[in-house]
Symmetry: C2
Amino acid sequence: MNASNSTNSTTPRGTQTPVNTMHSTHSTRAIIISIGNELTGGQTVDTNSAYLAGQLGMLGIETLYHVTVGDDRDATARAITEAAAQAEIVLVTGGLGPTADDLTRYALADAMGGAELVEDAASLAELEAFFHRRQRTMVPANRVQIMFPAGTRPLPNACGTAPGIAACIGNAKVYVMPGVPREMRAMFAQHIAPALPAGQVVIIRRILHTFGTGESDIGTRIADLMARDANPLVGTTVSAGLVSVRVTSHAASTLEAERLATAAIAEITTRLGEFVVGQGDQAMPAAVGALLSHRSQTLAMAESCTGGLIGEMITDVSGSSEYFLGGIISYANAVKRDVLGVGEDILAQNGAVSEPVARAMAIGCRAKFNADWAIAVTGIAGPDGGTPEKPVGLVYTAIAGCDHTEVQRHIFPGDRPTVRRRAALAALNQLRLRLRPRPRRES
Amino acid sequence: MNASNSTNSTTPRGTQTPVNTMHSTHSTRAIIISIGNELTGGQTVDTNSAYLAGQLGMLGIETLYHVTVGDDRDATARAITEAAAQAEIVLVTGGLGPTADDLTRYALADAMGGAELVEDAASLAELEAFFHRRQRTMVPANRVQIMFPAGTRPLPNACGTAPGIAACIGNAKVYVMPGVPREMRAMFAQHIAPALPAGQVVIIRRILHTFGTGESDIGTRIADLMARDANPLVGTTVSAGLVSVRVTSHAASTLEAERLATAAIAEITTRLGEFVVGQGDQAMPAAVGALLSHRSQTLAMAESCTGGLIGEMITDVSGSSEYFLGGIISYANAVKRDVLGVGEDILAQNGAVSEPVARAMAIGCRAKFNADWAIAVTGIAGPDGGTPEKPVGLVYTAIAGCDHTEVQRHIFPGDRPTVRRRAALAALNQLRLRLRPRPRRES
């Protein structure tokens, strides 16, 4: 995607966000910089950049690129300087902590042409209050966190000890935030987003999640919608077992951008049919939850190889207590027998990873919880425990309802986390397809 | 971290990896490029760059920076060109798929000065075999995946349809891989890592996880070890509720680098005492698992607000069936009563989120599973359900053993996923501290 290729307009956005006061002919652009050796060295995955890019997109601000540099004062200063020369907004995360490897404030001062660091009295008072509230002792190391390059403005941190920093370099506004995601998100929402100029082109992003077929098949079904410079721009991504279709529309007004995106989503939904799980935040667990809510039905589950993952996914959705009763993690065979009531003979004859055991787990779980529906999963997640007859990746998923029980056999490729995640998704998808309203036939 | 600041050496590495044939005076350096609008736009978090940086680090190759650009042919070509001018190794992921927004092969051809795309017959045969094995039909769209810039070499994809590409630009080796993590990892391990020149400086990275105190307190306790140009370089990171201490040593030989890292880890472990959970992959769940294994004891759990998360964390560790029996996800109160045996009167008098209920859940769970230890968690993860007396974030964690039951009350700040994760970690930590061997006193 490159919004600067698409039609731009100088019409201000017709939304609640601040009216754009910039008069350039291109949309507002941003660059995101992450700092930390734990990131460049690969010990930690950077989730901040994706979060910030998503937030900027909702404000109509295009992100040109993300860059990640180590805890290195010169490299950080260079990255800030280059970004400030190319974009109107530069968002920086990381390196504001209290320890000796936190160098971002010094690098920012360098990028400003050698600003001095000065202590901010108001920030000191807030920092002391923070420690007092938590009944913790402030160590001297924390004191560096209230030093700011002269000419910058501290940004209060509602969740931690490191204030952020707002600076101007040339035409760019530079905002430095802590690397801890929770602190960064609160600071961005409270002190940065409200101050950002809205883009002159409204960008609306939608995402549609699918399950059950490959990316190339999805791409073939919607090939004509995926042209290089189309508006909306349509793309596909494979992530955590789902193939997602991204729709990005550009227009001079929110109304028009919404109209374009909505029409594309409707067309794609029709073409992809039962593969479509949901939109936006509604990935598999929320989609199943919505179907259960709609029917006022309840769910319980019996998990063996997934070990609680399905429960975790379901309860990650706020409000899931409306339909979710609970579950049994039946890791040991004795639990399958004693808690779920799977017959000793069924276990002995077929082994724990088998069609009859999956079926008995689902039926036993449904009875135990007095639920409308039960899901059961038993399989071999690996890396050990496979045999020629029952290889690693073999998983049985079962659903049981009042007059319906079905079991599916799968062989999932991949490592332990992949097999577990695929198994959880397949089990939820099995229930989703059962609960999904059947399309009415034209008479 | 900036390894080019530290002592370099021309001594080849004393390990099993290929002997270094490069004769430059600096260590081998890499740059990692990720491609995709879903990344720059923030819909997807890039995990590939961290993975690759970690793998490079183990080979003694320093990563200078990561950069993420959109599905834009020119921006991708520019990123490849800039990286090839600065580093000996350029790793690129994404944009090799079968759909119209996959442009990396074209961008690579541009960066090579305008190479033509030619079809590779061997790759076509492999692609057809892939579809045949899976009993799926190859769609014409897949055919673009076997087109390669002239002068490059296809890299087989063991797990998917898109072969990778190996190219040379100036002095840099450029490797392009698919963006799907599973496919990328297999390709890197099989076809790229074995071909990489090993670094002339051996870099060893270790990570020590702590729980129970803040980053500034940890930083204060080991401040003298965190000097800017120390070897090993010591840094701290907060991630998913744990404060981790990273140790990076540089030396001419693996033996010396190991010695430096080991000595630093030993010193840090002594200073941080009971806060130290484990090293490397041994974060909280594996640490608790190792303590249980050592005692030949078993674990079960009763989860309310964590909804299966503790089970998922425990069973994410391969071999956890040795000590983990299973659990009850008691989301609904009826499940706490009927399955765990929490008295109706206890629930009515105290409410589900209370000290007596947490205690009764742990005791009931331990009995139900006939386990040596049980963990129980009940709380209010939010965003709804809080009251002035019982605010969002209030969580009780309990552990029960044969002659010991204890409950802790916590108030966790943060959103729903944060509260749930903190609750799971606090419960596991409570058991860890109980199982941990007491330091022997000198007589």
